[in-house]
Symmetry: C2
Subunit: 137 residues, 2 copies
């Protein structure tokens, strides 16, 4: 959590459940997945509330929005990291490499016209499951 962004916000049940859900699911859930997940505990939550909170929490800096194949996904992991992305099914996993972060930030020093504050590398390929499906045919 970014301390500077704490501000005056109310920790409603809905908000807490959404944050908890995202902290427990690091597979970068979509809006619908968050909605379905949170609804198991808060059966009466509306999708508008999910939308409002995902937007709000992203603006506050408590969540990060990423996008794969045109679909918004959310994550609560603020430790800088990389992503493994399946070109077939859109699945997205976190991948850590301190080495690569360091290397990228070093390269960032050469960049003009942009003040770089962070980097993240996407690794594109095919996940195990999709690979197996391909081999079957």
């Amino acid at each position: 959590m970014k301390p500077t962004e704490k501000a005056d916000m109310k920790y409603t049940n809905q908000r807490v459940e959404i944050l908890d859900f995202l902290r427990e699911h690091d597979g970068h859930p979509t809006v619908d997945e968050v909605y379905d997940g949170v609804r198991k505990k808060l059966t009466r939550i509306s999708k508008a509330t999910v939308y409002k909170n995902l937007k709000f929490l992203t603006e506050k800096g408590l969540l990060e929005e990423v996008n794969v194949k045109g679909v918004s996904r959310f994550e609560a992991n603020f430790i800088p990291h990389h992503h493994l992305i399946c070109r077939e099914c859109g699945k997205m996993e976190d991948f850590n490499s301190e080495q690569l972060l360091d290397y990228s930030m070093k390269i960032a020093e050469e960049i003009d016209g942009f003040t770089i504050v962070s980097t993240s590398t996407n690794f594109y390929g095919i996940c195990k499951k999709c690979m197996e499906l391909k081999e079957e045919t």
Copy 2:
């Protein structure tokens, strides 16, 4: 262009103009920017045609779709490269570093459960223009 993807497609005026436009504009145009740009030459083109073609050409592998702040953007540059992304305005520029590509692919060799075929690093920060705007206030 990926030769394997050439297949049987018709090179209509609309399609050619969309491809040309994207090849001449490496600033990762949005759908609306493509539409506005192409309409200067083909005044009667419909937005549905732009949507259909952007989708079709992306599936054929002639375009790549990227996403910044929830907005789809398209590019025709298939030489592996990185991106400089402004967290303020969403502007996106290409950035080349053969070094970093090599380094990332080397790291990719360690990855289990994903067969990695390419990598791309995003450099996040603030562009010159947004930085100046911030300093004014």
